[in-house]
Amino acid sequence: MRRGPLGALAAALALTVMATACTGAGEVADSGEVDLDVSTGVTDDSIVLGSHQPLTGPAAPGYLAVSQGARAVFDYVNAQGGIHGRQIDYRVEDDAYDPAQTIDVTRQLVIEDEIFAMVGGLGTPTHGGVIDYLNEEGVPDIFPSSGALAWNNTDEHPLTYGWQTDYTKEAKIQGQYISENFSGQNVGYLYQNDDVGEDSQAGLDQYLTDEVVAREHYESEVSDLSAQVAEFERTDAEVVVCSCIPAFVALAMLEAASIGYEPQWVISSIGGDTATLQGLLAQFTQDTEAEDVPADAFLDGAVITSYMPRVEDQEDEWAQFFLEVYGEYGEGETVTNTHVFGMTQAVMVAQVLKSAGEDLTRQSLVDALESQEWQGPGLLPFSSSGGDHGGHEGVYVVQYQAGGTFEMVQEPRVTDREGGDIEETDFERLSPEALDFHD
């Protein structure tokens, strides 16, 4: 055996291993300061905004509408002349809800597309994988589409600005509403077995203690909730709080109806889009005995919390405005509240871009976010300054009535995500004509 080359190779290998052994694998050095006085992605006539969304794969049907809605609003803004003469170039990349792909497309957006800011990155596990990278590269990370508490962490991620009311705030208000309006009744929790469930329970438990008779969770891959609903019926839960996405709300309602169990449903904003729910209920009841039962019958009386305009509300000017804009600039026909989610986000992004001024740098955008006075289209006060990047600060409560109408049973209230009180608020919104979000 030749000693020479083998020995040399062995020595090289040893050196390599030693070089990597200097630092532990997990010991990360502090990164330097980032320079925000740059206008990456901004030219005289365009602003490049990026987003990662699940456009294909199992999560796509529920969330495709978000980017469709946002795109419609940006097209509307561009048609009005843009923002300070610049057209918005909205680039959405598909990550199929796979965090590994999110990392790749985010790098592509930052390095190749040279986006000015990341807007509405969707999903907790997906966006959680890129939040460090975006902050390190100095890319403003505006309004992630998720209610996780992780987006409001200004010490570690100062460039991330939350948008959705986080799960704990929403759950606190739900808990208080139940304890006041359904006092004495048994309560069951149905929740998704990840941070949605954990954070929601943290909020609900601040107001509900002995009333809770059952806590059932589901994994996002299951297609059957019969065990969970059976448990609610067995423990005689008269109110069921559902911190779930629409597919599981529909499954739970159908399962309950099939065993003759009729609790009072209290549904979070992530699952409360009645337009989507009706579609899902119709789809799930196809080829079953309940085929002829209208979806409305299942939804009648459901209590839903939200913070956005509702597309079914005939008197909400923003909702009607969104219907018009989508009719002219959007793809497809039905407008659901998921479209409204994307459209509300887009209006607020356009608004803060306008406030950042003609001399548009990332620093001016951050300054605008920190000093912006928010007045809609959401119905709740919004926080993006002073160390609190929590976004919407609370929810309002509505009750659905068969036939497609709503009754607002509790006005918007705000709270924090710890043990603070829930307070009423008299928040005034500006109308679509008055709000300054395009030229």
Binding site: P5, L9, A21, G24, A100, I111
Partner: protein, 362 residues
């Protein structure tokens, strides 16, 4: 050998003829011991990758790293499926074991250097390989495939069962150290990580190639071709099958561990059944008969999505088509390859190569 036929053959070729020393370049290359040959090739490959990293940016560094760890995982699968004839539909599960081992080690023992982490991952994956191999050693063909399918479908469920430790659906996020201080100016963090990945990959490939061209590889191929004949020739069938699984699981685990190191995240949604099937399909496409097939397969897995999306964008197709084109494209290409070049891309290239060199008779 002192068989009668051997002696008479020698006498028939005449006296004074021993094997003449082959002093051609090819002959001298072949004379080197197999581990050395493969390590030299590995060093060459690493040098090529380093040169490539210097001329390209951060995004390509990430993708090169992806090609690297995918190639290592698929190479292990090639040894198992193409080498020993055991069809495994659960290779993604081994990658998942490696990925979660890496993230757990970095989260709970951040002071361990990366080399130590990789060694631990090899050990953990090997144990998993022994378990799976021992359980499936008596199975073959579709039954084996079904058993490994269980692994692919069932393992992600562990993250929900052990929610606290493994992070559930949201998975685990880690931050890994970049280049060491004295190399900070030379390499960016992404380039450093790609280099770490490729160093491990080339060493792993050298090991796999040495095994494949050695006695163990011969035994595995004999199992693939005819199990009964191999048993009669003295090949320990069960043990060799398990060893094949161990090698594949170690390679897969390393691939997954490197993925977690580069991406900084491990979630169950990255390791679904689709991953296992994609690895196998890509291997068939790349060439199931040779370790080089793993290279083409890895490039396909990483770049097909990107190129197909770019193609759809430049053709200005509707968004729906653009989103779904990569999958359809891959399916069509795979069907064509299976029909016309069953040995995959590498098989086609080898045939092309041998046709271009007709003068060399062997």
């Amino acid at each position: 050998m002192s068989s009668p036929t051997g002696e008479s053959a020698e006498r028939a070729t005449g006296p004074a003829t021993g094997p003449s020393p082959d002093t051609s370049r090819r002959g001298r290359w072949r004379a080197l011991p197999s581990p050395l040959r493969h390590l030299l090739l590995a060093a060459l490959g690493l040098a090529a990758v380093t040169a490539l990293l210097f001329v390209t940016g951060d995004l390509t560094a990430l993708r090169l790293a992806a090609v690297g760890y995918t190639m290592l995982a698929i190479a292990g699968l090639q040894l198992l499926v193409g080498g020993s004839g055991q069809v495994s539909l659960g290779h993604g599960a081994f990658m998942m074991i490696g990925a979660y081992t890496m993230t757990l080690l970095v989260l709970h023992q951040p002071m361990l250097p990366i080399a130590a982490n990789l060694l631990i991952i090899v050990a953990v994956s090997a144990v998993a390989g022994i378990a799976v191999g021992a359980a499936t050693a008596r199975l073959h063909g579709p039954y084996l495939a079904g058993a490994t399918l269980i692994l692919a479908v069932g393992l992600p469920g562990l993250t929900h069962r052990y929610h606290e430790l493994l992070g559930g659906s949201n998975g685990l996020n880690i931050r890994t150290a970049g280049a060491p201080p004295f190399l900070q100016g030379v390499f960016t963090n992404s380039e450093w990580k790609a280099l770490v990945v490729w160093t491990t990959v080339v060493i792993g490939l050298a090991v796999l190639a040495t095994i494949s061209s050695g006695r163990l590889g011969r035994r595995m191929r004999s199992l693939r071709d005819d199990e009964t004949a191999a048993a009669m020739a003295g090949v320990p069938v069960g043990r060799t099958k398990v060893v094949a699984f161990v090698i594949a699981s170690a390679a897969g685990g390393l691939g997954g561990g490197l993925q977690a190191y580069v991406l900084g995240t491990a979630t169950p949604s990255s390791f679904t059944l689709v991953l296992s099937l994609t690895l196998l399909a890509a291997l068939v496409f790349g060439g199931i008969g040779s370790l080089w097939g793993a290279l083409w397969a890895a490039i396909t897995v990483v770049y097909l999505q990107i190129w197909a999306t770019d193609l759809a964008r430049s053709l200005e197709l509707s968004r729906n088509v653009e989103n779904n084109l990569p999958v359809v494209f891959f399916g069509i290409v795979l069907i064509l390859v299976l029909r016309f070049w069953p040995l995959g891309v590498h098989g086609a290239l080898t045939r092309l190569g041998s046709r271009l060199r007709p003068s060399q008779t062997r």
